[in-house]
Amino acid sequence: MDDLYRDYILEHYRRPHNFGVLEHANASHEGANPLCGDRITLQLRLSDGKIAGVGFTGRGCAISQASASLLTDEIKGKPVVDAAAMTSQDVLDLLGIEISPARLKCALLSLDTLQQALAEAAQPAAASAAGPLPAAEGQTA
């Protein structure tokens, strides 16, 4: 019956990949959807222009947690520029399920958190005043 709660989504929710505190992280961001109570802290270890390590902690709905699990799998080992260029559609493709407008924020919390973490890492001195990353231009939602 369930288009949304497919087995692999529930599997990623129950046993998320890359879940836990990352040692020697040099970039991180805590993202939240206050409306639903979804919360993700994403940690990255950036080295030689690549995402050498990634981990996340937090709690939230199946969609937000599965999305974080799938996205962290996807970016691990990738060049930072490629990770920063990921779009909402890329994440929806990773999830591979039909996301209703009401759940879009859940599905995209991990991407939003990733983009914030990378933006802050790129401009550590002006993190709070940082404008939108160029990567954000590809966003559709």
Binding site: L35, C36, D38
Partner: protein, 431 residues
């Protein structure tokens, strides 16, 4: 606290919606066209989100339809037949609301868009004249954001202090602490008559008496009370009472502030423009009488007429009977849910004598949004989230909850559908 049918509940001979003094929700449902619809998956709609907004009976829909089809005109202006009819309809709605809430004087009812606007009206108009540096405003930990954020803004602007009556773990106000807070000599005490999240029915009259003895004015947020329990404004004896129409079977965009005449007369206008003036000169104006002083601009006339129709409809059912219906449903639902799903965490007072028809819960291991989403597949509509009470969720250490809530049309079959739906959630999530 026992609530029984009021002596003025009307006679019911021949009304099939009432049998042996009890509401018959299965019959009442026929008054609500939406309840006969099915979801896109072909499931009958099981609407358990009435605390967010209620469904509307034909009596309300038709009253508004009739206005638009037959006598749509502006109010307090037209010297022609339909203009006079519109004015009469609008003012008759005000009288219906006053009668429904036992307000001493219909001119003390100011129409607003909703409870939020009514609270903002008081915070801006009364608050900015009366709250000064160091003045305390006492609220509670269970307030809806609508009865919190306007006071935060006021306190910031006027350098006032906010104090909060704490709750017990099962969601009952600590009146012993309230007593202590009153020693701060607050200017205002503002609290929800019924909690939108936990369903707790607060002792509004007793709290008002305590606050008055300490010299404070009292605002009661009745958004979740007016649709569900008998509200007697004269008996509660507060200074301000606010509510939204859309939760009491009336359209969105309708609501009201009741306030004592002398307060309304002393308060400066909130919004300025047409309708609220008596005389306008280029550099000064004189205000209209109450309540029109607070109704600037063309109001939502149809919504007000719908609100009056909803008050009349609920008056026919009798609010004592409405309260009994919801309590009986709670007495059925709480043990039935606990028996079918002992792993479910249920929140709020378990004593249904002090609880309205609201059931907040969590299913361990499944996020409230996922619970609501799977319930939706069964046609069961519930709310998931923080229900505009983030501080209350923080106090209970919950990121979010699922909330099922009742109204006059809610049946035991709806509860059974919820229980079956939760079983389906467990199946999908393997918990």
């Amino acid at each position: 606290m026992t609530i029984t049918a009021r002596p003025d509940d009307p006679a019911t001979a021949g009304d099939p919606r009432i049998r042996d003094g009890h509401l018959v929700p299965e019959v009442i449902r026929a008054d609500f066209p939406i309840l006969a619809t099915t979801t896109s998956t072909g499931k009958p709609l099981v609407y358990l989100d009435s605390a967010a907004t209620s469904q509307k009976p034909l009596a309300v829909i038709e009253a508004m339809d009739e206005y638009y089809r037959e006598y749509n005109a502006n109010v307090h202006r037209g010297i022609y037949e339909i203009g006079e009819r519109a004015t009469a309809g609008y003012e008759r709605a005000r009288a219906s609301v006053a009668r429904f809430l036992n307000a001493p004087d219909a001119h003390e009812i100011v129409f607003t868009r909703n409870a939020t606007e009514a609270i903002n009206l008081v915070a801006y108009s009364w608050g900015r004249r009366n709250i000064e540096r160091g003045d305390a405003i006492v609220l509670t930990e269970m307030e809806h954001h609508a009865n919190l954020v306007p006071w935060q803004l006021l306190a910031q602007e006027r350098d006032g202090d906010l104090e909060f009556i704490p709750i017990t773990d099962d969601g009952v106000l600590r009146l012993d602490v309230f007593e202590v807070l009153l020693r701060l000599k607050p200017k205002l005490v503002a609290f929800a008559h019924v909690s939108n999240t936990l369903g707790t029915i607060n002792p509004a009259a007793e709290m008002t008496r305590m606050a008055h003895e300490a010299g404070a004015l009292v605002l009661v947020d009745g958004a979740q009370a007016v649709p569900h329990v008998p509200v007697d404004i004269a008996a509660i004896d507060a200074d301000f009472y606010v509510f939204s129409g859309h939760k009491m079977l009336a359209p969105t965009g309708s609501g009201a502030l009741w306030a004592r005449r002398e307060l309304l007369e002393a308060m400066p206008p909130f919004l300025a423009g047409g309708e609220m003036i008596r005389e306008v000169h280029l550099r000064r104006s004189e205000w209209n009488d109450i309540p029109w002083k607070f109704e600037a601009g063309t109001p939502d006339i149809a919504a007000a007429i719908g609100l009056g129709a909803a008050a009349d409809y609920l008056g026919e059912l009798g609010m004592g009977r409405v309260r009994e219906h919801e309590r009986e449903l709670l007495d059925y639902a709480l043990p039935a849910i606990a028996a079918a799903h002992p792993d479910l965490a249920l929140y709020g007072p378990m004593d249904t004598a002090i609880r309205g028809g609201v059931i907040p819960f969590n299913l361990p291991g499944v996020h409230p949004h996922d619970v609501a989403q799977v319930l939706d597949r069964s046609g069961v509509a519930v709310r998931a989230g923080h229900h505009c009470t983030m501080p209350l969720h923080e106090r209970l250490d919950l990121p979010a909850t699922v909330r099922a809530s009742f109204n006059v049309y809610t049946t035991r079959a709806d509860i059974d559908a919820l229980i079956a739906g939760i079983a389906e959630v467990k199946r999908v999530f393997g918990v």
